[in-house]
């Protein structure tokens, strides 16, 4: 209980005045009697039989003081903080974002919010109606205006937080729009407050119920997988971990393929620090990957992240040549390549091939794709050439370029090479004493490599650098061809994937095992029910496709909580126990005081 008018307690100074008056009043009338003998005996007997007789004498004083006390309490305007309930229409916005899953003191933020919401529902009078909106990455009206408390409570009981970031703004705007339609409504936002600023609306009665305290959390905030640039046969998995707690943490970050641990690294993080790590060497045979922190904290959702490696696609290579056994053999030895051979006369452009190698030939035009020109005719060379150069000497080469990594050309001898001119578009990879010998350039999305000499005009095919070069070439080209992984989205986002044109119904299996069916059209399916983090499986047309949904959101993982909301420049302060009003109850004290006064009057007049 608190008081609005503390100064009223100044009237307590009247108490000694009343006592003084009473003491003065107690001056007794003196009467001389023949003898007090019998009076002494009478009084003594009376006092023995009624021990409280002396108190009775003070009863009137006590009643007067009690009346004064009640009067002072009434003047002091006592009040109690009580759940505010003034409106008939109530809109509850429940924050169902990932941060509400944070468990503090045995209860998640969402459970605490739900408890408060149920209490609000219970306090509804029979004329009140309530609407429940859940807010995660999407805004959903869980229950339209209803006065059925059981229905509302059931709706709240069935609500659960999602693994997605929050989007209270949309829910708030929906509530404002609804309130505008109704003309009068109260909005309660139950959240941990990591909301940001909300726009100004016509809503006047907005209450913010804040939940959550300082939390301790480690989180995986970034995850990426790519083919290793240096090797077509290996992937790199990039992970970022951030410490959102206030203490230094030491933990292990593990890489798993299903339940098998592939690798683990010990990490020591100071508070507020972020650290990244790259896992590699886990090969191409692994398909479903998971990274996990071995630390328990307030939000375990972001301690794991998943990655799906798409199976490596076969690279189709077309050799347009009248015959180049060295090249054919070399390329056939490569993993995941399918080599086709066609003569220059039989060549027609096709998007089917990931790489087309023109040997001593150049088509008039090249479309989209990656090309290698080996000794093209000077007039057809993609890079201008001025005739041939006899016995060029390899002077230098780009040793750091992925194409020429580990390639040693010092023992290569060339009899004759095109005199390739240096242009701004083409980059010289191998420089001869008089011209470029190997150049590269890009044309749109196409990568083009120009080898200015015939393989038969050099002893290169006999050198170790020859297969290394072509292996580098394929890796370099694949880094643009193959998309790394990435069958992955953040929770709440839509995952789109190609399906067969004949596939109309796609079965999606959620991480918990629940099956959903979505439609597909135009060879594409879109799945937006990514509320749960984990590995999903799509089944269609006899095929399976996995994709991963991760939180990867440092704002949610930070587990911020706020005690106020900024709404259109106005600050709405939070209350953990509900929107409170001061309920005054001075009238009760006035009534008590009147009752005491009547009792005092009765006893005063009842005296003999």
């Amino acid at each position: 209980m608190s008081f609005l008018n503390i100064s009223a307690f100044g009237f307590l100074g009247l108490i000694p005045v009343i006592i003084l008056f009473y003491l003065l009043k107690l001056k007794r009338k003196e009467i001389t009697v023949p003898s007090i003998l019998l009076w002494k005996s009478s009084v003594k007997d009376l006092e023995a039989s009624t021990p409280l007789q002396k108190l009775r004498r003070n009863l009137l004083l006590f009643l007067q003081l009690l009346f004064l006390l009640f009067l002072i309490l009434a003047l002091a305007r006592p009040f109690l903080k009580k759940q505010a309930r003034t409106g008939e229409n109530i809109i509850l916005i429940m924050d169902c974002s990932a941060s509400m899953k944070s468990r503090e003191m045995g209860l998640t933020r969402f459970e605490a919010a739900r408890k408060a919401a149920i209490k609000l529902i219970k306090d509804l009078s029979k004329n009140d109606r309530a609407m429940i909106i859940s807010s995660s990455s999407k805004t959903v009206v869980e229950c339209t205006f209803a006065s059925d408390k059981e229905l509302l409570a059931k709706t709240l009981a069935e609500l659960s937080p999602k693994d997605t970031p929050s989007n209270i703004r949309d829910a708030y705007l929906l509530a404002a729009s609804t309130a505008r339609t109704l003309g009068k409504a109260e909005v309660f936002i139950l959240s941990d407050g990591a909301i940001g600023q909300l726009p100004k609306t016509e809503l006047e009665k907005i209450h913010f119920l804040s939940f959550g305290k300082e939390a301790s959390n480690l989180a995986i905030t970034a995850l990426d997988v790519r083919r290793k640039p240096s090797s077509r046969f290996d992937y790199e998995l990039f992970v970022s971990v951030e410490n959102f707690s206030v203490s230094q943490e030491e933990f292990y970050l593990g890489l798993y393929s299903e339940d098998k641990i592939l690798n683990a690294v010990k990490i020591n993080l100071r508070p507020g620090m972020k650290k990244s790590h790259i896992f590699s060497g886990f090969g191409t045979r692994t398909h479903l990957l998971r990274v996990e922190l071995d630390q328990k904290d307030d939000l375990e959702l972001d301690n794991k992240a998943w990655a799906v490696l798409e199976p490596k696609k076969e690279l189709s290579i077309l050799i347009v040549s009248d015959g180049n056994p060295f090249l054919e053999k070399l390329l056939n030895l490569e993993y995941d390549t399918k080599v086709s051979l066609v003569s220059p006369s039989g060549y027609s452009p096709s998007l089917e091939y990931g790489l087309t190698i023109f040997d001593s030939y150049a088509p008039p035009e090249t479309g989209e794709g990656n090309y290698v020109f080996i000794n093209p005719p000077p007039s057809m060379s993609p890079v201008p050439a001025s005739g041939y150069v006899d016995r060029p000497i390899i002077v230098d080469w780009e040793k750091t370029h992925p194409l020429l990594r580990y390639v040693d050309l010092s023992d290569v001898h060339i009899a004759k090479a095109l005199g390739l001119k240096q242009t701004s578009e083409a980059k010289t990879m191998v420089e001869g004493d008089r011209s470029s010998l190997i150049s590269i350039f890009s044309k749109g999305n196409s990568k083009i490599v120009l080898i200015g000499f015939s393989l038969s005009d050099s002893d290169w095919v006999l050198r170790a650098s020859f297969p290394i070069f072509f292996s580098n070439l394929l890796s370099w080209l694949e880094s643009g061809l193959l998309t790394t992984s990435l069958a992955q989205v953040r929770s709440g986002e839509t995952f789109s994937f190609p399906v067969g044109r004949e596939d109309k119904n796609i079965t999606i299996i959620e991480p918990g095992g629940r099956e959903l069916t979505i439609g597909a059209s135009g060879g594409m399916a879109h799945f937006d029910d990514t509320f749960k983090a984990g590995l999903y499986e799509a089944r269609f047309g006899g095929r399976r496709k996995f994709f991963a949904v991760n939180l990867l959101n440092d704002e949610e993982s930070r587990l911020e909580h706020s005690s106020s909301l900024e709404i259109g420049g106005r600050t709405v302060t939070a209350s953990t126990s509900g929107a409170l009003i001061n309920e005054e109850f001075w009238r009760g004290f006035v009534i008590f005081g009147l009752v005491v006064l009547m009792v005092e009057w009765y006893f005063y007049h009842r005296r003999p």
Binding site: R28, D45, P608
Partner: protein
């Protein structure tokens, strides 16, 4: 002070009382004042054998004729009754309308008058903390005014010390007789011990316990400070119905105890209120209680 006792109205009332009392004496009780002593009155008491030297006049010749033996008649000694009026004149006796002392004086005057008219010896003593005044025993109606004058002159003052006073009185009195105590008996000391002195000294004791109306039914209310008129002791009370009931009970007990003691010890006790006219007391109540013989 002097009013009432010496005025004509009072004296005429006394005269009436004496006439009435004489009628009572003649009509009913003849020779009731007895004494063990054998004397020369005309009232036959007993026989005894004749011894040499006895008076021949008292020989019963009829008995001799019958028994041929000489017997002497014995007669009761005619006694000279002494009435002692003991009047409490302590401060407490000044209360009441009329004051208890005035009432006691009138009753004492009535007894004294009747006694003097009956040729009894009548004396009076006033007491409070001590014997404050003494009227020596006199006889004859001629001493009535002297008695009245003495009684009239008694004034209130001092505490009641009945035990001490009666002790002194008994020590002074040579002969026992009738002791009539007129008091409110509101004394701290032991009244029973006081009365025992009279019993021991063979007084024929009568107590007239005089109380006034406000003592019998107090009309007090509120928060009061009571001051004892004699001792000055203070008692603060808050009057309530229960307290008044208690007072009545204690008054009844107080008087009852005294009455029981008197009854057990052959003392005649009567409680008198000043609201009852003294002549009514003297005639009606005293007659019933055999005060007047």
């Amino acid at each position: 002070m002097g009013e009432g006792l010496l005025d004509a109205e009072f004296l005429s009332k006394l005269e009436l009382l004496s006439i009435i009392s004489r009628k009572i004496f003649r009509g009913e009780i003849k020779g009731e004042r007895r004494s063990r002593a054998r004397g020369t009155s005309s009232e036959f008491a007993d026989y005894r054998s004749y011894s040499v030297g006895d008076d021949f006049r008292y020989l019963d010749w009829n008995l001799y004729a019958r028994l041929e033996k000489l017997f002497l008649k014995l007669f009761l000694e005619e006694e000279d009754l002494r009435i002692n009026l003991l009047i409490d004149c302590s401060k407490s006796m000044s209360f009441g309308e009329p004051p208890k002392l005035n009432y006691a004086k009138k009753v004492a005057a009535a007894f004294g008058y009747i006694g003097l008219c009956n040729l009894d010896r009548v004396g009076a003593t006033s007491f409070s903390s001590n014997l404050t005044g003494t009227f020596p025993a006199v006889r004859g109606k001629a001493n009535v005014f002297n008695l009245l004058r003495f009684l009239d002159g008694i004034s209130c003052g001092g505490e009641t010390r009945m035990e001490r006073c009666l002790q002194y009185f008994c020590a002074q009195c040579k002969k026992p007789g009738v002791a009539i105590i007129l008091s409110d008996c509101l004394t701290q000391d032991d009244k029973q011990e006081a009365l025992k002195y009279l019993i021991y000294h063979k007084f024929d004791t009568y107590i007239i316990h005089i109380l006034e109306e406000t003592e019998l039914s107090p009309q007090l209310a509120g928060d009061l400070r009571l001051i004892d008129s004699e001792t000055g002791e203070v008692k603060e009370i808050t009057v309530s119905e229960k307290l008044l009931r208690n007072y009545q009970r204690f008054l009844k007990e107080y008087c009852g105890k005294l009455q029981d003691f008197c009854l057990k010890n052959g003392i005649s006790y009567i409680r008198a209120s000043t609201s009852v006219p003294f002549e009514e007391l003297v005639l009606t109540h005293l007659r019933k209680s055999r005060f007047i013989k």
